[in-house]
């Protein structure tokens, strides 16, 4: 399967160019930080009126990955919704699209800082998920290892013959993998930021998303 193949704690995993993580042995796909409903939340708080297509676009890309991998378990690694009120702003066809994706699959919402409580939207709500040898949680816990986490929206910046190039990326070392944000309306935190430098080991890799996923040493 297309993507960057690697092993974490003995589990064979694939980082897709889309930003999703696939675990073939478990037929499991994991995405983080969908931030569904971001545009509505900004507007609700008196902010600008962004294009209302971000839920559709995110679901469309998620659907593509689910079909491609034929995964049976979908883990959304927290901050799936931009806040708990978003539910009421989802359109009917957006909800039914989500329900169609959930039908016949095991769907797990891990809670994040933006969406700490359960929502009336199908699937199972968990604080974290342990499938040996890996633990899925939203915010990385630097005292733990063998974890799959999100939260930071890592992005890597490199210079291509003077051309400035920046892409969301996975961060990977022998303790953990940190997923990029999957949602359409999300930004990124540079790998050089203190939080990420402290979290990752010196030999960590950044796996750039894009048409293909590409590993580079984590830019520091």
């Amino acid at each position: 399967m297309d993507g960057y193949h690697f092993t974490l704690a003995g589990a064979d995993l694939i980082a897709f160019g889309s930003g999703a993580l696939f675990w073939p042995e478990k037929d499991l796909i994991c995405v983080s930080d969908l931030h569904l409903g971001k545009s509505s939340r900004l507007l609700r708080r008196g902010g600008p009126v962004l294009p209302p297509y971000e839920v559709k676009d995110t679901l469309y890309r998620l659907q593509t990955d689910i079909m491609l991998s034929a995964a049976q378990t979908i883990v959304c690694l927290g901050d799936s919704f931009d806040d708990l009120e978003v539910e009421s702003s989802l359109l009917e066809d957006e909800v039914s699209w989500l329900n169609r994706l959930q039908a016949g699959r095991c769907w797990i919402w891990i809670e994040g800082n933006h969406d700490p409580g359960p929502m009336n939207i199908g699937g199972t709500h968990l604080k974290q998920l342990h499938i040996p040898p890996l633990t899925f949680r939203h915010i990385p816990n630097s005292s733990q290892s063998w974890e799959v986490a999100g939260h930071y929206h890592p992005k890597a910046q490199i210079s291509l013959r003077g051309r400035h190039y920046s892409k969301p990326c996975f961060l990977l070392d022998e303790n953990r993998v940190v997923l990029p944000a999957f949602g359409t309306f999300t930004g990124g935190l540079k790998t050089q930021s203190v939080k990420l430098l402290e979290l990752m080991l010196p030999n960590a890799l950044a796996i750039l998303t894009g048409k293909k996923s590409r590993p580079i040493p984590m830019p520091r």
Partner: protein, 823 residues
């Protein structure tokens, strides 16, 4: 103490006797100074009751006094204190300068008039006080005025306003800032219907257009012309030695320039770009053996540095200033007696305005020298000199008022309180640029402000502006007023990063460089800023940290600066020069060169398009002499090479100047005439543009101005950058789901006329009307030769980005000694 600038503001010693009823105090003061009024100043005083009047006058003609005199007359009789006159200038520093220069005479005349400025630099305490108790005369900028009208107490602030003075209106009229200003004034006029407008302008090609821009449409605007003064004394540099074939820096002329500086009191040395100014300044100092006090001034320098230079200039401490457009406007400096323009002027109007900076004695001719940077530019310089002599000024016709500015205006009006759309539409239509605004376009902007105006109706519950039962529109959430005000303005930050010395070396701010340039630096690289060579150390929180180096040559020669495209008028004059073969004034070597071109190929003409093809070093070349300015020639390069790619002619790259585009590839182009079809270009534009970085840049500007994207948030934190996301994402989303949304249409319109400049390609094809002259040559032509030396070659990419990415990531992995399987 009276500064030199004050003297210039009020100096008008002329033997002119006119009877005019000015107040005793003012005339006593004039007599005391032995000063008399100019005819245009008297004329403006007499017609002060006109709804709008425009003064066209060269520098030094007492423009500012002409603008303020009616106000002083009225204020003398005024009893109660309230805002009487609003003065708007494009520059903060000008507002502060005028304040200084008004205060002294007001005291001398004995008028108790309160004058204050209000700009981005004014403290919030003073700003609040000004809203409660406004001064008699308020000096401000378009942005600060836009903010003022957005306050709920705007009706009270402007209730007593009688006069508005718009300074440097010719500069404002060319930009979106001007459109914003005039929209704000339409609001002010609604609050204070008696307001009279005065515009002060430098010499322009189309005074009527400025008048239309200024007036309260459809009322007439009176235009006054000051005596233009004696014809400027302007020449090309002599003798021209070692003139290079290509390049734009004019470094070869440094010894002659120094000689001129030595022979004059104060010289302004203008450059077209900051990068060129930096390099020239650096080289100038390497040759400045007498240590003549020469400074540099441009917009990327740190504000404190700039102010120092300005102060030194006012104090008469400098013999020369190397500068860019940052000194095109602004404070009148007494002692400038020579202007040197390095590089072809690109635009006659700007050249004339720059020349006007020399010699502010109104009745003495300004003196200027232009220095062609390369051989071809001698032709452009001669053409420009002719145009100046014939007072033939260029200018693109001003387009209709942009809709993004209108969107911002609607939001600002909503911040001030409830409004009716019909009333607002009428107000907006009274603004010159928006006098032909269609109701449908206005309604679309309104819809955008209400709920985004998207085809997908998702936000009806959370509209930004809601309609009350009484038909008035108001902000739904009062919190958004603060957010909207925080994002006022139409000036776009080109992505620049601050440069400062490393903290351990004092952390002194030096200026700014473009983000793209910063991204290309690796630690250890040296470059120029503020005339000194610095070494790039690191990038910390979006600040470029550097250390000083004593190197003579920077490793990185240049950074990208905005390049002005040569104007249509100037291009046509060059072609006319070719046709008439009237080459007097050109250096002999240039004459020989042009003659050789005529012998071996032909010279380009006005009503046809010359295209040459020839082989060189195993590559086939195609040279298109469009004479449509650099931006349009660049776009032409992209469009033609795309066609060549489709035809399998394997183009490899191209380079563009203001006059021509040179494309090279593996196959010969046998039938170049077939390439120039407007419909082909137009469909090519659609595909190419959508993906292009220029388009994304235009989108960001449009989306920011119209309030779709916020640059500033309340309580902005330094961390948490993952919460903000790039405007490119919004652009891509709209492109995918609603490509015809108002934002996208505005973006296309802006890109076509601005950086992409497709309008000039269209214009050229119409002019040429199929008359394409193809010369198939055995070797390169004389006129095409300099193109081979030109910097800024564009490789044709196709898969190049992906390929470079593969190379780079493998290289990095290898360098790090990691062994990874790349799938």
């Amino acid at each position: 103490m009276k500064t030199a600038a004050t003297a210039y503001l009020f100096a008008y010693k002329r033997e002119w006797h006119l009877k005019i009823e000015i107040s005793r105090n003012i005339s006593k003061w004039l007599v005391g100074k032995n000063w008399q009024l100019f005819p245009h100043q008297i004329a403006m005083l007499r017609s002060r009751h006109q709804i709008a009047q425009l003064l066209i006058a060269p520098t030094g003609a007492g423009k500012t006094l002409a603008g303020f005199l009616p106000s002083l007359m009225e204020l003398e009789q005024k009893r109660s204190h309230c805002l009487h006159t609003l003065y708007i200038s494009p520059l903060k520093s000008l507002a502060a300068d005028i304040k200084r220069n008004l205060t002294v005479p007001l005291e001398e005349i004995g008028l108790e008039i309160k004058v204050e400025d209000r700009t981005g630099d004014t403290s919030s305490y003073v700003k609040r006080r000004q809203r409660v108790a406004p001064p008699d005369i308020l000096l401000t900028t378009p942005e600060s005025l836009a903010l003022l009208i957005s306050f709920e107490d705007a009706p009270r602030i402007f209730a007593g306003l009688r006069r508005v003075i718009v300074d440097e209106i010719h500069a404002l009229a060319e930009t979106k800032r001007g459109d914003q200003l005039m929209l704000a004034l339409s609001r002010v006029q609604a609050l204070a219907p008696e307001v009279r407008r005065v515009g002060l302008s430098a010499t322009v090609e189309d005074p009527e257009a400025i008048a239309t821009f200024l007036t309260l449409s459809p009322q007439e605007c009176l235009i006054h012309f000051a005596d233009p003064g004696p014809t400027p004394n302007i020449q090309m540099l002599e003798p021209l030695e070692n003139l290079p074939w290509a390049g734009a820096g004019g470094r070869y002329a440094i010894p002659q320039v120094l000689e001129q500086v030595r022979n004059h009191n104060t010289t302004l040395i203008f450059h077209n770009t900051r990068a060129q100014a930096e390099i020239f300044f650096h080289e100038l100092w390497l040759q400045n053996e007498e240590v003549l006090p020469i400074a540099i001034h441009h917009a990327s320098l740190d504000r404190e540095q700039r102010q120092k230079v300005e102060q030194a200039m006012v104090n008469g401490e400098l013999r020369a200033v190397v500068c860019t457009g940052s000194l095109d406007l602004g404070i009148d400096w007494g002692d400038v007696d020579l202007v040197i323009q390095i590089g072809a002027p690109k635009n006659v109007k700007r050249l004339v305005q720059r020349i006007g900076r020399a010699n502010h004695q109104y009745n003495a001719p300004s003196k200027a020298i232009i220095v062609p940077a390369n051989r071809f530019e001698t032709v452009e310089c001669i053409a420009a000199l002719e145009a100046v002599r014939e007072n033939d000024l260029d200018g693109e016709p001003k387009g209709a008022g942009p809709l993004d500015v209108l969107c911002q205006h609607i939001l600002l009006v909503a911040c001030s309180g409830p409004f009716l759309t019909d009333v607002l539409f009428k107000e907006v239509r009274a603004t010159g640029s928006y006098r032909s605004l269609r109701r449908a376009d206005f309604d679309e902007c309104m819809a955008f402000c209400i709920n985004g105006g998207y085809a997908l109706r998702k936000y009806d519950r959370w509209q930004r502006i809601i309609c009350r039962p009484d038909g008035q529109y108001v902000l739904r959430d009062p919190r958004s007023a603060q957010r909207i005000r925080l994002n006022v303005g139409t000036i776009q930050d080109t992505d620049t990063l601050k440069v400062r010395l490393q903290r351990k070396r004092g952390g002194k701010p030096l200026g700014e460089i473009e983000e793209l340039f910063a991204a290309s630096l690796t630690p250890g690289d040296t470059f120029l800023i503020g005339g000194e060579v610095v070494r790039f150390e690191n990038l910390r929180e979006m600040i470029v940290e550097v250390s000083r180096k004593s190197d003579k040559q920077p490793k990185i020669a240049t950074f990208t600066g905005t390049k002005f495209a040569t104007s249509t008028l100037l291009c046509n004059r060059i072609l006319k020069l070719f046709e008439e073969k009237n080459w007097e004034g050109l250096p002999q070597e240039t004459k020989n060169w042009l003659q050789l071109q005529d012998d071996l190929s032909i010279l380009p003409k006005r009503r046809s398009l010359l295209v040459e093809t020839f082989p060189r070093q195993g590559r086939h070349h195609l040279c298109i002499y469009g004479f449509i300015g650099r931006n349009a020639q660049q776009t032409l390069g992209l469009l033609i090479s795309k066609q060549l790619e489709t035809k399998g002619l394997a183009p490899l790259g191209f380079v563009a100047t203001d006059y021509a585009t040179l494309i090279w590839g593996l196959e010969e182009v046998l039938d170049p005439k077939s390439l120039f079809s407007l419909s082909e270009f137009e469909s090519g534009m659609d595909g190419w543009l959508a993906e292009n970085a220029l388009m994304k840049r235009s989108f960001r500007a449009v989306a920011t101005i119209s309030g779709l994207i916020e640059r500033n948030f309340p309580g902005q934190r330094k961390s948490g950058r993952q919460a903000t996301f790039s405007s490119d994402i919004i652009y891509e989303t709209l492109r995918k789901f609603e490509p015809d949304h108002l934002m996208m249409r505005m973006t296309r319109a802006d890109a076509m006329s601005g950086l992409v400049d497709f309008s000039r390609i269209r214009q050229m094809l119409t002019n040429v009307g199929g008359r394409i002259e193809h010369k198939r040559l055995r070797k390169l032509s004389p006129l095409s030769a300099p193109l081979f030396l030109e910097a800024g070659r564009v490789p044709i990419e196709g898969q190049a980005i992906e390929r470079m990415l593969v190379e780079e990531s493998e290289l990095l992995i290898e360098e790090a000694g990691l062994k990874i399987k790349v799938c």
